[in-house]
């Protein structure tokens, strides 16, 4: 097995880690595991494809549009998911609402790009370096770097700022946070926006290399979820560890046993971990909504 496999694994893993982080960001204050969390990945890929490959406006424009539409998608997701969850009162509301949101976004992407197989613009950072005989693309390095920076940044935000402490408090006990003066509803809205923007940028950065089609959202959600479970839905560090593990495992198994075996092993591992460690490997248990 060549070093190339490891590099590709680390690269894909950093994208999964970002999805895992986004899932955790939304899950903590809402107790909602957002099945639409992979959709902003597709959004980011679609924007970079549209702006860079079709319109030829260049990457700065693409990143700006990604930011704007990412924020919009976050706001919209919050309404689409939290309104039904608050109004319905069913114990399944979260799963049904997030699945419906995922399907709606997916349908919209498919309507726009029904004739596009892979949303792939040219790289933001073209070229590569040779490392131990393997090609490490600058784009890959950039994505991994961004992922690490986002993780570290969010970790610091949670620990060092008043708003970060408020988010942690709202995750632990929403009512108690309210009577401390924390606007919990606003925290929730903010969580959806941050999560969507993170995933949209991850999608835009990954699109030149990773396969992202109009219907890929759910796959990214599930891989990100696997990463979150492995790492524990508590800390950005856990998300990072989980994401890299999933990416590496995926790449290694694909390399050893062929393309279809990768997913099989990842999902098998997910099942095994869930069965054997009902609270993840490193984290605290997630309590249901």
């Amino acid at each position: 097995m060549s070093a190339q496999v490891w590099i590709d694994g680390l690269f894909a893993g950093s994208v999964y880690a970002l999805v895992a982080l986004a899932l955790a960001i939304v899950f903590q204050p809402t107790r909602v595991m957002n099945f639409a969390q992979g959709e902003p990945i597709v959004l980011g890929a679609a924007i970079s494809y549209q702006v860079v490959a079709l319109w030829q406006w260049g990457w700065p424009a693409a990143l700006l549009v990604t930011l704007l539409l990412g924020v919009g998608m976050g706001l919209l997701s919050e309404r689409m998911i939290m309104l039904p969850v608050r109004l319905s009162g069913s114990r399944y509301a979260w799963i049904i609402a997030t699945l419906a949101a995922a399907m709606i976004f997916q349908a919209l992407f498919t309507l726009r790009y029904f004739d596009v197989d892979s949303l792939r613009p040219k790289a933001l950072a073209p070229g590569h370096v040779e490392v131990l005989g393997a090609r490490l693309g600058w784009q890959q390095l950039l994505t991994i770097g961004v992922a690490l920076t986002v993780m570290a940044g969010y970790d610091t935000f949670l620990r060092r700022t008043a708003y970060g402490r408020a988010i942690r408090a709202a995750s632990h006990d929403g009512d108690a946070a309210v009577i401390m003066g924390v606007p919990v509803r606003r925290v929730i809205l903010l969580s959806f926006v941050i999560a969507a923007v993170i995933c949209a940028f991850a999608g835009a950065l990954a699109a030149p290399i990773l396969f992202i089609g109009p219907t890929s959202g759910l796959v990214f959600t599930i891989k990100g979820f696997t990463a979150a479970v492995i790492g524990g839905v508590g800390s950005p560090r856990g998300a990072l560890a989980g994401g890299l593990l999933v990416g590496l495992l995926d790449a290694v198994v694909r390399n050893l046993a062929g393309a279809t075996a990768g997913d099989f092993v990842v999902f098998g591992l997910l099942a095994l971990i869930l069965v054997a460690f009902p609270s993840g490997l490193f984290g605290k248990p997630m309590e249901a909504h």
Binding site: M33, M80, L83, P84, L87, S88, G89, S90, R91, Y92, A93, I95, I96, A97, L99, A100, A101, M103, I104, Q106, A107, L108, T110, L111, F114, T215, L218, I222, F225, V229, T260, A261, D263, F264, F267, G268, L270, A271, L274, V275, P278, P285, M286, E287, A288, H289
Partner: protein, 609 residues
């Protein structure tokens, strides 16, 4: 005068009409569906398309009913129903196309596979909480789909298996087969839900603790309903493959499951007719917008979100909650009759305490919530356990009923060591009513009482599904006893009403009746009088005394002191995890230690004066 006499008459006619409305609609629908092949043949050149449409909807309805049994009644979030459908499809395709066996052998294998697969998934995930259970089913679903992609020799890989057909049947004959199976599955669902088996399932869903306190085994009950649901999902998958003629891994992906979720939530989750109605509505709508088929998913997604906000209980649930659709409000009646002998403990030995705890100790972290409590409850008495908030009363009771493992001490039930699990304690005759009400709000008052009887019912799922004599005899006895109990509690006028529409006080009373229906020797009530008006407290006191006079031991944890002083024969006062007084109410009331515990010690506060 005549106008006021006419008004109730008109309401009565209206109610009668409404009662028959569902039956009439069902009859019309059944007639249309039976005549459907003839109708389409007459009106259309494309009859087989329209027949196929209805057959596909019937198959969807079967899967949605299966989903309803697991999620709606069982409370088990399943994201693997499309995967089980895929399994069923593979089973029938493999048997017919690859082995050349008849199609019904494939159907049988499909049901078996579905049942075994779901039982396995449940067995490995018993420790998982509700959210994780859902996630395990999701992983299981992905594994089935990926397995289908990978195991080419059996499943045909990505392309799947084509040429699946119900050999020997014409398309029209198969149409009737799917219709008949859908009807059968609906009946199975109804028979399960309206039996002790289904009531046990709903009890576990509502609250595993309450169920265990009624002597219902949560694990066994969940396994049963999930396995049955799996078998039906497999069945649906086999029909799907036979109807469409092919099966491939795309059938199993979660995206395709959305339509079933929409059907279930639109129609009404946890209702009998909801899944069928929801699927029918979707089938009609999808057919109407088929010229814009690429918008179908978008449309379904938006419909689902809107339905959750506008009619959170679905069509059936909303109808049943509406003024027209709900059972007429009952009336208050005076209590009459006597307690049925079968729920009473019979002769009791007054010298052996019915329930006894000796030296109970329970720590939470470093805090001793219960610190060496001795309590002894005599048969045929009302025993109050009182104390200030947070003193350890509820923890003591949780230790006595084995909901908490004790760190030290013994529990004896009628002199025998108590078994280790909550449901086993309940089987020994110690039941409890929790502080927070756990009624089945969507079921009738009578059904709620029947749920309490499950411990004494000896029939299983098969008897219930086939309505064997064993089931019929016991069900008749259960209903008669439940009616007696309700009459004795003064709730007979409200037996048909939904439990959710009772007043708070009636709900508490109903919970007590349901607990007694399990035929206990010891009945533990946790703050039953909270929020009750005086008349309701009197009714509760009357029930407690009646139970005591018939040999039951009643344990009362209560804050309403008038009530406690009025009905209790003995009191145990707990403060900071220790017994500070024990004796008859009058004695306890005068005890200075009790006064201090309740009212505080102002002399300890510095600079107060």
């Amino acid at each position: 005068m005549s106008a006021s006499a006419k008004a109730p008459a008109r309401t009565q006619v209206l109610h009668a009409a409404l009662r028959w409305l569902p039956a009439a609609l069902t009859a019309v629908a059944a007639a249309v569906l039976l005549a459907w092949p003839a109708i389409t043949d007459f009106y259309s050149y494309n009859a087989s398309y329209y027949n196929g449409l209805v057959a596909s909807a019937a198959i969807s309805a079967i899967l949605t009913i299966s989903l309803n049994m697991s999620m709606g009644y069982g409370g088990l979030l399943s994201m693997m129903h499309t995967g089980m459908q895929l399994l069923g499809g593979y089973a029938v395709a493999y048997m017919t196309v690859k082995q050349g066996l008849p199609w019904f052998a494939g159907v049988a294998l499909a049901m078996l596979l579905g049942a075994v697969f779901s039982a396995l998934v449940l067995a490995v995930s018993l420790r998982a909480t509700y959210l994780y259970f859902g996630m395990i089913t999701l992983a299981a679903n992905l594994i089935v789909v990926e397995g289908g992609n990978a195991w080419e020799s059996v499943t045909g890989g990505v392309t799947g298996i084509v040429g699946v057909a119900p050999g020997g049947l014409t398309k029209t004959q198969f149409y009737y087969v799917t219709l008949a199976v859908a009807a059968l599955v609906y009946i199975v669902q109804r028979n399960v839900v309206r039996s002790g088996v289904g009531r046990a399932v709903m009890a576990v869903k509502e609250s595993p603790d309450t169920a265990a306190a009624m002597g219902i085994r949560p694990t066994r009950t969940k396994t049963l309903i999930f396995t049955l649901s799996g078998a039906i999902a497999g069945l649906s998958g086999s029909l799907y493959a036979l109807q469409l003629g092919f099966i491939n891994p795309d059938v199993g992906i979660l995206d395709n499951g959305l339509v079933f979720f929409v059907g279930l939530f639109l129609g009404g989750i946890g209702t009998l007719a909801g899944p069928v109605l929801g699927v029918a509505v979707i089938a009609i709508v999808v057919e109407l917008i088929k010229d814009h088929a690429r918008y179908t998913t978008l449309f379904l997604g938006c419909t689902l979100l809107l339905a959750m906000m506008l009619i959170p209980k679905g069509i059936v649930g909303t109808w049943r909650g509406s003024r027209l659709g709900r059972p007429p409000e009952g009336e208050d009646r005076e209590p009459f009759g006597a307690l049925p002998a079968s729920v009473l403990p019979g002769a009791v030995d007054p010298d052996v305490p019915a329930l006894q705890g000796r030296g109970l100790v329970k720590h939470f972290g470093g805090v001793k919530a219960v610190d060496g409590v001795d309590v002894s409850v005599a048969a045929g008495s009302v025993h109050g356990i009182i104390g200030p908030n947070g003193s350890g009363k509820s923890t003591t009771v949780a230790c006595l009923t084995r909901f908490h493992k004790v760190d030290a001490g013994d529990v004896l039930i009628c002199g025998e060591p108590a078994p280790g699990r909550p449901f086993a304690v309940a089987e020994q005759g110690v039941t409890r009513v929790f502080q927070a009400p756990h009624l089945f709000e969507q079921q009738s008052v009578l059904d709620n009482v029947l749920a309490g009887m499950r411990r004494r019912e000896k029939y299983g799922a098969v008897s219930a599904i086939l309505r064997l004599p064993r089931y019929r005899r016991r069900e008749a006895v259960s209903r008669a006893e439940a009616a007696n109990l309700l009459a004795f509690a003064g709730l007979s006028g409200r037996a048909a009403q939904l439990a959710g529409s009772l007043s708070h006080g009636q709900k508490r009373l109903l919970e007590v009746v349901r607990a007694v229906a399990s035929g206990p020797r010891v009945l533990i009530l946790d703050e039953p009088a909270t929020g009750l008006v005086p008349a309701e407290i009197d009714a509760l006191a009357r029930l407690c005394r009646a139970f005591r006079d018939h040999g039951l031991a009643v344990v009362l944890i209560e804050h309403n002191m008038d009530f406690v002083m009025d009905v209790c024969d003995r009191l145990t006062v707990i403060d900071s995890g220790k017994v500070i007084a024990c004796g008859p109410p009058a004695e306890v009331r005068a005890d200075p230690a009790v006064l201090d515990a309740y009212l505080g010690r102002p002399d300890l506060v510095e600079d107060l004066n």
